[in-house]
C-alpha cells in the first residue's frame, strides 16, 4: 500500500467569469422603461446567485456601467454575485454609447482581465440612437482579444432603438432581443442573465477560422461565440399583445 501524500503544487482557483450590465440611462429611458429595467435586473439577482452556486468552479463577477451624457461605472470593481446589489438607476441626458464602449474596452484588456478567465458576458440595454461617435470605440472593443470572445447580447427597448448599432455590437442579429413592452423587457433581461451559467459550463469547442467584422460592416456578420442556446430566446411576439413603447 503506497503512502498517502498531500497534494503538491501551487494555488488552485476557479475561473473568473465577468458579467457586465451596460444600461442606457438617457432621457428617453425616463419613467417606465428605467423603472422596469431596475425592477427586472434586481429580480434576476437571486437566480444568478443560485446558478453560480451550482457551479463552484466558476467565479461570477458582476458589474454595472451606465451611460447617458458620458458613462460611469456604477460598480467600479468586479463584485462577487453573492455580494452584488443593484442600485436603482435614474434617466436623463443624451446617449453616449461610444463612451460606454471605451470604458468597457479599458476593462477587457489584459490586465485587468486575466487570460485564464471564461468568456465575459456583456448585456447592453438601449432604447435610442448613439449621440457620440460610437464606431471607433466599438471597433477598438471588438478587436480586443476578450472583446472578440465576449458573449455580447443587446436588448433593444422600444421602437426607437437603433437595431443596426446593436447588431454591430452583438455581431449576431439573433442576439439583439426585442423588448417593446415591460413584460417583454423583463423576459429578455431574465434570459440574458442566464448566459453566465451557459458560458461557465465545462466544455470547449473547436475554434473557427478567424473572422472579425469591422464595426462598420454589414450588421449580419456573426462573430459572437455560439455558447448560447439561441433556440430558447423568448419570442417577443408572445409577450404582451400590444407594443406600448
Amino acid at each position: 500500500m503506497a503512502q498517502a501524500l498531500k497534494r503538491p503544487g501551487g494555488e488552485l482557483a476557479n475561473r473568473p467569469l465577468h458579467f457586465f450590465w451596460v444600461v442606457d440611462c438617457s432621457g428617453s429611458m425616463y419613467g417606465e422603461k428605467i423603472g422596469t429595467v431596475n425592477h427586472a435586473i434586481q429580480s434576476t439577482i437571486p437566480e444568478m446567485v443560485d446558478a453560480a452556486k451550482d457551479n463552484p468552479n466558476a467565479q461570477l463577477l458582476v458589474r454595472t456601467l451606465k451611460f447617458s451624457t458620458g458613462a460611469t461605472w456604477v460598480t467600479p470593481t468586479p463584485v462577487n454575485v453573492e455580494d452584488f446589489a443593484w442600485d436603482d438607476l435614474d434617466a436623463g441626458g443624451v446617449t453616449d454609447l461610444g463612451k460606454a464602449f471605451e470604458m468597457l474596452a479599458a476593462q477587457l484588456t489584459i490586465p485587468p482581465m486575466s487570460d485564464r478567465a471564461l468568456p465575459p458576458v456583456i448585456v447592453l440595454l438601449s432604447d435610442g440612437q448613439p449621440t457620440d461617435d460610437y464606431k471607433s470605440a466599438l471597433d477598438k472593443l471588438l478587436h480586443l482579444p476578450w472583446g472578440k470572445k465576449a458573449v455580447r447580447i443587446a436588448i433593444s427597448i422600444g421602437q426607437d432603438a437603433d437595431d443596426d448599432v446593436l447588431q454591430q455590437f452583438t455581431g449576431n442579429s439573433e442576439l439583439v432581443l426585442q423588448a417593446n413592452n415591460p413584460q417583454a423587457l423583463v423576459k429578455m433581461i431574465k434570459w440574458a442573465s442566464t448566459a453566465a451559467s451557459l458560458v461557465s459550463a465545462p466544455a470547449s469547442r473547436p475554434k473557427d477560422a478567424e473572422e472579425l467584422p469591422e464595426a462598420n460592416d454589414a450588421p449580419n456578420a456573426t462573430n459572437a461565440p455560439l455558447v448560447l442556446d439561441m433556440n430558447n430566446i423568448p419570442d417577443p411576439g408572445s409577450v404582451g399583445a400590444n407594443d406600448v413603447w
Partner: protein, 285 residues
Amino acid sequence: MKQMVFGESVQGASHKRVNMECQDTFKKLEYDDGTIIMAIADGHGSKACPYSKSGSSIAVNVFCKIMDKFHTSYAENLEMLLTYLNREGDTKVAQDIDAEWKRRVLKVHTKQKREVPLTEAGEKNKAEIYKQYGSTLVGMMITPLFIFAFQLGDGDISIVSRNGLDHLLESEKILGVETHSLSKIDSWKRAVSVVRRRTAGSGLPYMLMLSTDGFANSYKSTDEFQKTCLDYFGMIEQHGAGTVAANLKGWLDETSAMGCGDDITVLIAYFMDDGVPESEANANE
C-alpha cells in the same frame, strides 16, 4: 537508465455534478529498446460534440498506431526517423494523423448506426459528423536518440529536471473555451511539433509531462502551474514514482474540484539513473 511511465484521467468536478463521463483519454506504449509512445486527448464535451469521448479515444489510438509504425520501420535507423520527423512532423505526419482520425470517426459513426447529418444537397455531411467527435491531441515519442512532441489543440508538454522547467512545445493559446480541434477540416494545419535530440542517460533525473488544459486552468496563474510541475518532480524524487503514481488520481480529483472543474489528464514519463533505486526516497526519509 531506468524509466517509469504512469498517468491518470479523472472526471472533472463539473462533469460529476451533471453525471457526464470523463471526455479525456490517455495511452502509453513501452518497448524493449526503451522507446516510449504516449498520448493524451481532451474531448470537447459540449452539446455539439456528444461523442467526444470516442473522439479522444480514437485520437490517442491513432497517434500511437502511427508512431508505432515509425518505430517498427525505422528501428535500425533512428537517425533517419529523427530527420523525417523534424522535417515532416507538422506537415506529412500531421496530415496522416488528421486523415486517419477522420477515417476512424466515420467508421465508428457508421458502425454505431448513429444519425447521419446531411448537407443541403442531401449528401453525408462529414464535417458535421467530425464535429460530434471533437477532440484535441497531444503526443510524444521518446526514443533513445530523440524526443518527438506533437500537439493539436490545447494542453501542455512540460519537461522538468533539477535545472527547472521548460515547455518542449508552445501551442497557440486561445482565450476562453475554444481550442484547435481534430474535428476541423484540415486540422493538421494547426498542429505543431518539435524534435529534440536526446542523449540517453544524460541530464538525469528528469520528467516529461503531458497534461490536458484542465490541469493548467485549475491554477491561479501560469506561475502557480509551473510551480506545480516542479513540485510533482520533487515529489517523485523524494517519494519515488510508484508512490506518486498511486496518489495521482486523488490529487487530480482535488485539483479539479478546487480549480476549474474540467476533466484532467496527466501522463508522466520519469527517467533516472540506473544506480538509483526507484525507492531512493525511502532511504532519505
